[in-house]
């Protein structure tokens, strides 16, 4: 109970700070929208050439952009943690009886909330461009986005609090995320890949996420592909939250 109050207090604080700066909405949305508007048509016509129906093309492309938004949107929240640590905010809050777990979760939930809003907007913007998708499928996909961003944001915060340096955090995240992103088939479906690349990609978690979200957009919900996606996202999320919690608990006396 007390933990929930703490989480709520920390969440509200961070949300207020974000909402006061309307710039984030513009900046946060501009990139995915640019991907949709400026790159989407190119992508969908490329897919059409290979024989994919235009409708299918958008169902393939939009989930990819969602995963990309998720990956980059939440992975970099650690920068905010480092800034707070530098400013002494984290120590100040740690001297109060606030739960250490709430300091992590309250903050991360703000990031998740903002990300989900962005994801919804992205889907809405894609509709007039030609996206047709099943409503339950999109809801499942948004659920996956939520789980995934929760996990990634926790990982990022934990990493930030461990390295405590932007100069280490940035390159570490980029080095880690770039191959994962390329191997996930976000940009082009991995079914176009040579066999070895397809195999390597099956060793990375995001491959399943992207595949499952595409299936969901096409209307599947209770299929092996979609359910295993949910399972992968859930595992990533649970493990990362646990790791984050452990880091936040450890960093105290």
């Amino acid at each position: 109970m007390s933990l929930l109050v703490d989480i709520m207090l920390v969440f509200q604080r961070h949300l207020r700070i974000s909402l006061r700066n309307p710039l984030w909405i513009v900046i946060g949305l501009s990139q995915p929208v640019a991907f949709l508007v400026l790159y989407g048509p190119l992508m969908t016509s490329t897919l059409s050439i290979t024989g994919v129906a235009p409708e299918r093309a958008w169902q393939t492309y939009v989930p990819g952009v969602l995963v990309q938004l998720c990956l980059f949107g939440s992975a970099f929240v650690g920068f905010g943690v480092i800034a707070e640590w530098r400013g002494g905010v984290i120590e100040r809050l740690r001297v109060t009886p606030v739960s250490r777990v709430a300091l992590l979760l309250g903050r991360v939930l703000r990031d998740v909330a903002l990300l989900v809003v962005q994801a919804v907007m992205l889907v809405l913007v894609a509709l007039p461009l030609g996206l047709r998708a099943s409503v339950p499928g999109v809801l499942v996909a948004l659920g996956v986005v939520t789980l995934l961003s929760l996990g990634l944001a926790c990982l990022s915060c934990a990493l930030a609090l461990t390295v405590k340096s932007e100069d280490t955090l940035g390159p570490t995240l980029n080095t880690g995320l770039m191959p994962l992103l390329l191997l996930s088939g976000v940009l082009l479906p991995m079914s176009f890949a040579p066999r070895w690349l397809d195999l390597v990609s099956r060793l990375t978690p995001f491959r399943y996420i992207v595949d499952g979200m595409r299936s969901a957009f096409q209307g599947e919900v209770f299929t092996v592909t979609v359910l295993s996606t949910v399972l992968v996202a859930l595992s990533i999320s649970v493990l990362s939250v646990l790791l984050g919690v452990r880091t936040y608990l450890r960093q105290s006396a």
């Binding site: 109050v5 207020r16 400013g87 120590e91 809050l93 109060t96």
Partner: protein, 337 residues
């Protein structure tokens, strides 16, 4: 039972292959309602000690009890009972002033309505009235410092730890904070443990002073006792007559540690305690027929205490207030009778 009890606290930092023994066995006893100053030169281990006492840093060894709760086994209890103002503060530049205070109050579980009243009250008392809706990042340095202090006091803690609370404050704000601190003690019996680099502040505000150097406590007493033991009052006498004869005479007096003729023909007398010594000096001189034209007294200061304890200035003072002969700056001018 003392409200702050630290036993043999040590802390060693490791950075790479180097290790720094920042604190090497600190023992502290502070009674409820005391205002205690924690003094020491840069790098002496003040902040490190405070961070240990406030549960932020695990001691390498040693134990402590704060307000009856054990630091190692009941850190959360300790946190409930203390307030802490860090040396460099801890506010978010993007938050609003009143948001920061309100959050802090709520984290200590002050209910919403009393928390709002508390925030308004603290803003008023720390001269931050009208700034509640401002972004913290837009405050001036001194205003932000006062906000830091307000944050540490939001929940009326039994013990507050203030790490250089008045660094960067103007004289008015400093006085205001002293007043506030004294009132806290009077009204609520709050115990205050503060570090400062201003010796006048320690002198004016603190009941007791602990001096830390190289991670160890090197002296602990009231400001008056420290000055009596470790520093002297210096009296400069301008005489009508032969200063050398006066000097020989005064050097023999009990209570006079040292007497010398100055380059301007005065006599400089180092006294253990000016309150008693000054009359003896005048009596002795007039008894010998040496007239006194003027007297100038430089009272012992904590600066002298500090210098004699650590061999260092408390701060790297660009004006270099210390020379081997104390200057008359800040001296009481005593006209001859």
């Amino acid at each position: 039972m003392s409200i702050i009890e630290a036993n043999e606290l040590t802390r060693t930092f490791r950075s790479g292959r180097q290790s720094v023994e920042a604190v090497r066995g600190v023992n502290l006893r502070v009674e409820a309602g005391e205002i205690v100053g924690f003094l020491g030169p840069n790098g002496a281990g003040k902040t490190t000690t405070l961070r240990m006492l406030t549960t932020l840093l695990r001691p390498t060894s040693g134990t402590a009890r704060i307000a009856g709760a054990d630091l190692a086994t009941a850190p959360r209890e300790v946190r409930r009972r203390i307030g802490y103002v860090a040396q460099y503060g801890g506010t978010d530049p993007n938050a609003l002033v009143e948001e920061e205070l309100f959050l802090q109050a709520r984290l200590y579980r002050i209910p919403v309505a009393p928390a709002r009243r508390r925030v308004a009250d603290l803003l008023e008392r720390l001269d931050l009235g009208g700034l509640g809706k401002r972004r913290v990042g837009s405050l001036s340095g001194g205003q932000r410092r006062r906000l830091d202090i307000a944050l540490g006091l939001v929940h009326d803690p039994q013990v507050v730890f203030l790490d250089e609370p008045t660094a960067g404050l103007d004289p008015h704000s400093r006085n205001n904070l002293w007043e506030h601190t004294r009132r806290l003690r009077e009204d609520l019996g709050t115990t205050v443990f503060l570090t400062t680099h201003y010796l006048d502040e320690a002198d004016a505000l603190c009941d007791r002073i602990s001096v830390i150097d190289h991670g160890r406590i090197v002296a602990e007493d009231t400001p008056a006792n420290l000055k009596r033991q470790l520093a002297s009052d210096v009296l400069t006498v301008e005489v009508v007559g032969d200063p050398a004869a006066g000097q020989r005479l005064l050097a023999e007096l009990p209570g006079v540690r040292h007497a010398a003729v100055t380059s301007t023909g005065g006599i400089q007398v180092t006294l253990a305690d000016a309150e008693q010594g000054i009359t003896d000096v005048i009596t002795a001189l007039s008894g010998a027929g040496i007239g006194v034209r003027a007297l100038q007294l430089a009272r012992a200061s904590l600066d002298d205490v500090f210098l004699s304890l650590t061999g260092r200035e408390l701060r790297d003072d660009p004006q270099g207030r210390h020379s081997s002969i104390p200057t008359t700056e800040g001296a009481d001018h005593v006209p001859a009778r």
